[in-house]
Symmetry: C2
Subunit: 189 residues, 2 copies
Amino acid sequence: MDDTRKRLLDVALEVLGQNPDAGMGDIASAAGVVRRTVYGYFPTRADLVRTLSQRAVDEFAAVLDEANASHDAAEAVWVDFISRLWPLAHRYRVLLALRRGEYGEEIHALLGPVDEALATLVQKGQDSGAFGHHLPAKILSQVAYAAVFSIADNNIAGESLSASAATVTSLLILGVPEARATELVATQH
Amino acid sequence: MDDTRKRLLDVALEVLGQNPDAGMGDIASAAGVVRRTVYGYFPTRADLVRTLSQRAVDEFAAVLDEANASHDAAEAVWVDFISRLWPLAHRYRVLLALRRGEYGEEIHALLGPVDEALATLVQKGQDSGAFGHHLPAKILSQVAYAAVFSIADNNIAGESLSASAATVTSLLILGVPEARATELVATQH
DNA sequence: ACTCCGTTGCACACGAGTGTGCAATACTTC
DNA sequence: GAAGTATTGCACACTCGTGTGCAACGGAGT
């Protein structure tokens, strides 16, 4: 079936997200399938990881682009971005998990454009005075969205209120005053 | 020698910090020694990792306790803590790196008391109104000090100005207004 | 019934890391 | 120079994950 391939990718996303060192056997049995079957769809573990990462990065980039399309102020764009990112943050954990590890370089390269887009967004916010200058845009963007993943991780029973909490926290990191941050989150369409 | 043992631990701290999956051979050659020699000091890779983690956690806890000893306001204690933590953050990265991986459970258990102390400190700050309530103390503390490590990571050419930048950023996360944050950092003894 | 086709169940070869045993070197210390 | 100790060099057995080959099984469609 073609279902199997998709399910393998979904399961691998989950399994590798929790343990980047999981083997083909672990993924196979988690998918209710024998190890040999996996090799029928992905000739190599590296192929599986690459395909998986590519798909995750693509979805990730799509979310970012979608938010970045609006020509609102950087603050609003950021809020929009996080609100779209949040429901998927748990899935994308695999990217952070894989970033350290055997294929770290490869993933890092895939994530390059995303990091750049993120830094650009933060830079715009800094130039407009909406975001603070306590850190360079490149680092600040990393810290801000790493925090979102961190909150998602520490929150396995993810309530919906966490979404706004994560957004507010990321805005605080960016140097937005608390009053303004809560206001932004409240007036979100 | 007894130097060798200490040097092995230091080197392992460095090597495993960058790649948690590094083998005994990697550590040995990084220490300028043959693999066989390492087994003379640590019968098992697990022993090495455990000893190493224990030492790191002990130092980490010492820093936290030292800061926590002062009965100043939570804000000041936090600033003190981060300023002490900063020069060591690079070394302690091994703890975060090892937390995901083969011995994850073990490290997590070792880190338990540290996490608790951290959460307590943040809780005190929230009760006194100095820190915000956008997240529960347990999560907020994790996010705040994870950010410090994140900044340390993204800053391999670590200038000293990063220390205050990291402190300010962590204070922002905790909900301290920017003006107050910079003031706290400036008036630091 | 016949035939695809995905799946299974082994067997195997291979590489890499682990941990051990033991003789051969240095290198210090007396 | 002799004794003691840390280190080395090499061989070995063992485990574990990877990737492949091939025969057998089972269900869906004709």
